[in-house]
């Protein structure tokens, strides 16, 4: 597949790719429709404080992780087309509630529910995987992810203009958010009829039910359990913060904690149920894979996608306050961070593929993020705005490239388990966002940038220690001795296919 193929809209798979990235784009647009309007909200709603908005920003990424789990199950049952349509239509409801919410509870709960929309990434990736040949799939998924993520930039660029110039007035921001929700619902309906799950005649086969990731040794199982706890456990931080700010009673907090503990316990039990029998039997040498690599990639996604979600949520406000700009101008400038996505994310995957050494590419990117955010931490109103924008773009280039590089390594760790490994790494992006945004409620933007730089640096260290250059396929080689044996093999496979 050549890059120029993306213009061949008549090809069914290219058409599917475009339909799907637009869907993902719209969901991201809605997901990040609050940050660029934050200042307008503060002006028009007199009982809102800046702290409340920071809390909304956490809520905005909180429930994505459980939503991913639910969406994953739904995908296996109903296929990506239906799930994507239903997700878009359903999620327009909390978006509308948020747009016209008049009490703290309404705003808080609707934002929490709306955070489920972040699971849309998984749905679209599955849709893309059904349409493309193995050779082209890397490019298609990079394209999808890059252009879809660009939705958050589009929101930052356009929403202030829509709110202040098109609608104007006190409630301009409400109508701008409502409009994005209505567009999303309409597109959800359109998507249902416009696309199919894979090319005509594809049979959607249900994958083998996997409830937990398989590991290769007892030590790896302990590590997996340790790395699983924060996936849902991180929501405990949010509960603590909401209670701390007085929007949740002590009883409510205890109930929430109990639910979180129960879910974590359930996940651990599943890990044990899947892995103990396997490990007792012993894993054959050529089927082993190092869990340390998975852990390292979890940390990179925590430090790059987590940072992106967190920074996109606070950057418009930061520019507005530091250089005293108008909301529209700040939105435009802050969008430079997410704007780079169009090129940077696919490029991260590309560079990872091109260089002889994926590990080196990952390390370079993580180091670049640490340097970039370190520079952003130096920014203040004495700096000329143009330099600030330059540094923002530089940082963002590394952040999004690193996302691409992370997902460039994942398929080569263990092909059989790729889906689960990428699910775990992807969820860690949200864990990162929740952790960073919670920290953000306590610190100034400058300190915040230094903290993110520190996070990236720690991840860089972990990669140094744990990430191994993946060696794909060295263990699996087939010697075809003759045509006979091949026919035999096909016979066997046909029999197996009949049997299942």
């Amino acid at each position: 597949m050549k890059v120029a193929d993306v213009f061949h809209v008549k090809n069914p798979e290219i058409r599917a790719l475009h339909l799907t990235w637009i869907a993902f784009f719209i969901t991201f647009y809605v997901w990040f429709n609050m940050a660029p309007l934050a200042s307008s909200m503060l002006k028009s709603v007199d009982w809102l404080t800046a702290d409340d908005l920071r809390l909304f920003a956490i809520c905005n990424v909180a429930l994505t992780i459980p939503a991913r789990i639910i969406v994953g199950m739904a995908l296996d049952r109903f296929g990506p087309r239906r799930v994507f349509s239903v997700l878009m239509v359903l999620m327009s409801i909390p978006a509308l509630v948020f747009a016209f919410g008049n009490t703290m509870t309404q705003l808080l709960v609707s934002r929490l529910v709306l955070s489920s929309i972040g699971a849309s990434f998984v749905v679209g990736i599955h849709m893309t995987a059904m349409w493309f040949k193995p050779k082209d799939i890397g490019f298609a998924e990079g394209f999808y992810a890059g252009w879809g993520n660009f939705g958050s930039a589009a929101a930052a660029i356009t929403l202030p203009t829509i709110a202040l110039q098109m609608y104007g007035g006190e409630d301009g921001w409400r109508w701008a958010i409502a409009q994005s929700a209505i567009v999303m619902a309409a597109y959800g309906v359109y998507y249902w009829f416009a696309i199919t799950d894979g090319p005509e005649g594809t049979v959607h086969r249900k994958p083998r039910k996997a409830v937990a990731l398989e590991v290769s040794s007892w030590g790896d199982m302990i590590k997996l359990i340790l790395w699983t706890i924060p996936l849902v456990g991180v929501l405990g931080i949010l509960v603590w913060r909401i209670e701390n700010m007085g929007y949740l009673s002590a009883t409510g907090a205890v109930i929430s904690y109990a639910v979180i503990v129960a879910i974590v316990a359930y996940q651990i039990i599943q890990i044990l149920r899947v892995n103990v029998p396997i490990l007792k039997k012993g894993v054959p040498e050529d089927d082993k894979y190092p869990f340390n690599s998975v852990a390292a990639l979890n940390s990179t996604y925590f430090a790059n996608f987590g940072a992106e979600l967190a920074v996109v949520s606070m950057l418009p406000m930061f520019f507005e306050e530091t250089w005293s700009l108008s909301a529209t101008a700040a939105g435009l400038i802050a969008a430079s961070f997410a704007f780079v996505n169009l090129v940077a994310r696919p490029m991260g995957g590309l560079v990872s593929d091109r260089m002889g050494n994926r590990r080196f590419v990952m390390l370079s990117y993580m180091f670049g993020i640490a340097v970039g955010f370190g520079l952003m931490g130096l920014l203040n109103s004495n700096w000329p705005l143009i330099i600030a924008v330059g540094i923002t773009v530089f940082t963002s280039f590394f952040v999004q490239g690193a996302e691409g590089a992370t997902f460039g390594i994942i398929p080569s760790i263990k092909r059989r388990l790729t889906g689960q490994i990428s699910g775990m790494a992807g969820a860690y992006g949200n864990v990162g966002a929740v952790v960073y945004l919670t920290i953000f409620t306590f610190v100034t933007p400058t300190q915040f940038f230094y903290i993110i730089a520190g996070g990236a640096f720690i991840s860089w260290l972990l990669c140094m220690m744990w990430l191994k250059e993946p060696e794909s396929g060295f263990s699996e080689e087939y010697q075809l001795s003759s045509v006979d044996r091949q026919i035999e093999e096909e016979e066997r496979r046909r029999k197996a296919a009949v049997a299942t």
Binding site: A4, L417, T418, L480, V483
Partner: protein, 153 residues
């Protein structure tokens, strides 16, 4: 004389095999056909079926090529690997087969489409060679045995 051919069943690869046989027949070569099933760069597991199809296709192509060699009375072996095509070919040559010569057919990217599509393709291809993204440029840089690159026609 041990000759390794990177073989993917494409038109160019078939031509390369024919040319190799024509050129080196008198040296009584042993030809090793190496095919690489490229790992899908896919981050879901939704594409396994297509990958298996690709492996089956490759096996079919190799079987055909083996027949050609048999008809021409050239002794031939084969190997099917899985992973990144460039790295696996390098690995097969250096660690497994130790050929006296490696033959690869350069892929043709005949640009089609309008002006924008053509320039974009041209630019990306150029980038490919610069960054050793294509199989031929990657191997030309790294392989430790004589390498014959047959241009596409």
């Amino acid at each position: 004389m041990k000759i390794m051919i990177a073989y993917d069943g494409s038109r160019n690869a078939r031509l390369a095999l024919a040319q190799t046989i024509t050129m080196f027949r008198d040296l009584k070569p042993v030809i090793t056909l190496v095919a690489v099933a490229e790992n899908p760069r896919d981050i879901t597991s939704g594409n396994e079926d297509m990958f298996q199809e690709e492996v089956a296709d490759l096996k079919k192509h190799i079987a055909e090529a083996m027949e050609v060699c048999e008809q021409e009375q050239i002794s031939a072996e084969n190997m099917l690997l899985e992973g990144d095509a460039r790295k696996m070919l390098l690995f097969a040559a250096e660690k497994k087969i130790h050929p006296d010569m490696l033959v690869i057919a350069r892929h043709s990217h005949e640009p089609d489409g309008g002006f924008i599509a053509r320039s974009l393709t041209y630019f990306v291809d150029e980038l490919d060679y610069m960054t050793f993204g294509s199989v031929s440029s990657f191997l030309a840089r790294r392989i430790q045995c004589p390498l014959l690159i047959l241009p596409s026609r």
